[in-house]
Symmetry: C2
Subunit: 148 residues, 2 copies
């Protein structure tokens, strides 16, 4: 009775999306990158519903992307900081921003422009770490290791 078996790919992209593949999660992370570490400020800057943001922050903390740090004892108050894994999401954020800059900017151009430490306006580019050449969609294929 079976037709072609349904077997979703094992895939790092899918796994990553299980952690950060939701609008408010990524926007919360954006805020932390921009220096906002506090709940109420994130609410204001992202526009997320309080409930949803609270839930997202919880999952991000348990996923090891953010760290919840107490900065005030008596009225217990917490800040969110990026873990190392969280900081490694920087390239993802950067590429999302680049795409929006290119395809969704209005008349006024991108709402936020970044400057790289070299002094130039940042134009992010993805290259192969080995040959330093840009990685185009067609320039990759499945790696077939010389199996032992």
């Amino acid at each position: 009775m079976t037709t072609a078996a349904a077997r979703p790919r094992e895939c790092s992209i899918a796994r990553t999306l299980d952690v950060v593949g939701e609008k408010w999660a990524l926007l919360a992370i954006r805020e932390v990158f921009l220096g906002n570490h506090r709940f109420d400020e994130m609410i204001r800057r992202t526009g997320a519903p309080r409930d949803t943001l609270a839930a997202r922050l919880r999952t991000l903390v348990t996923a090891g992307v953010l760290e919840r740090r107490q900065y005030c004892e008596h009225p217990a108050r917490f800040e969110y900081h990026l873990t190392e894994a969280g900081r490694e999401l920087h390239p993802v954020i950067l590429m999302l921003m680049r795409w929006g800059d290119r395809y969704l900017a209005g008349e006024d151009g991108p709402p936020l422009i970044l400057e790289h430490s070299c002094g130039h306006r940042l134009e992010a580019e993805v290259v192969c770490a080995a040959c330093h050449q840009p990685v185009a969609p067609g320039s990759t294929r499945r790696w077939s290791p010389a199996r032992s």
Copy 2:
């Protein structure tokens, strides 16, 4: 009566996420990059509910990320292809994959390893197009143009 005004940032990241910021949207795009252009095959490979995938494909087409092409006349059949804007999402996909490879790979390592056209195993890296140096989280700041 108002307290601090709630004004979500104008932000290319948020805008981008309005288009592709959902698990199944990105996984559909992944499939197209991997060469699957057809609905049923996407269903099988992503595990998405048929309904949801149909809805996502519709929004991606209207957003100009995918193009719906008829490849069969009589039982009308369609394939999905990347537009130029869609192809430009490649870096996003790549960085999501990289993160999953690093932080969510199990014992067996990443489920899919790519080879760059230079012959090396692909290690994607984000650099500044101007100085070719890696872009670290702390190496950027707001660009303050010399206003005229």
